[in-house]
């Protein structure tokens, strides 16, 4: 095995470790989203925590070659960063529905990639 193959193998191993973390991280984003629907909660902190997770995996997933998943997290990060709606969120509004859709899209991208391991 050449040095390049050896390095690529190590990157592939690290990618699989990262990939296995992603469902749990997305589940945390989904849980926090549900918190935003509650009447009383520190909404700004909650959306900030969702943003931090999305930002983190937008950078790391892409660097491990998980481009589609990285893009999904990036889109989610942007949507959370630009959130200007009311709290608690109202699922009849466009922006919360968009966030929910982006979470679902990210979930699907992760599931498809996990099935291909």
């Amino acid at each position: 095995m050449s040095d390049t193959d050896n390095i690529q193998q190590k990157i592939d191993d690290l990618t699989n470790v990262l990939l296995e973390k992603l469902p749990g991280q997305l589940a945390e984003i989904r849980r926090l989203f549900e918190v935003l629907r509650e009447e009383t909660s520190p909404h700004e902190d909650t959306i900030e925590n969702m943003y931090i997770i999305a930002h983190k995996y937008a950078g790391s997933a892409g660097s491990f070659g998980l481009d589609e998943i990285g893009q999904c997290f990036h889109d989610l990060e942007q949507s959370l960063n630009n959130y200007s709606g009311t709290f608690p969120i109202d699922m009849n509004d466009d922006h919360p529905r968009q966030i929910m859709k982006l979470i679902d899209t990210t979930d699907k991208a992760i599931s498809e990639r996990l099935h291909n391991i």
Partner: protein, 130 residues
């Protein structure tokens, strides 16, 4: 001066692992990694690396704040600094350069080409945002 030793600071362990692997195995550099700016600042005068790579978005102290601290340390004030950051606006990149960084590497990055980008920024070749 030839680039040999790099101090790498990122609070995200996955990124740190792949960046360190790329810089050491692909680039052939000596790398010392930190998940905390505070600890990196404590060690910088002892290590005196040829280059420091800082993640921009870190808790407690972000990349620019860390760079500002480095500039106050006499022995380390001239060590070149590169920021790593996710997609940002051009005006933000200009602000990063104005703060004293020699370049900015966008995340995500390709581990196989990452070391060459670092070398080019260090040597002042090409664009400062790669």
């Amino acid at each position: 001066m030839e680039l040999k030793t790099i101090m790498l600071v990122d609070d995200e362990p996955d990124i740190l692992t792949v960046a360190e692997l790329a810089l050491t195995k692909v680039g052939g550099f000596d790398v010392v990694s930190y998940t905390s700016s505070k600890k990196a600042l404590e060690d910088v005068t002892h290590l005196l690396p040829d280059l420091i790579i800082l993640d921009m978005m870190m808790p407690n102290m972000n990349g620019i704040q860390t760079l500002q601290k480095i500039k106050t340390i006499k022995a380390a004030e001239n060590i070149p600094v590169i920021f790593m950051t996710a997609k940002v606006q051009n005006n933000e990149i200009d602000d990063y350069i104005a703060s004293g960084a020699i370049g900015v590497i966008r995340k995500p990055f390709d581990p196989m080409t990452f070391p060459e980008k670092v070398r080019q920024l260090y040597e002042g070749c090409g664009d400062y945002y790669v």
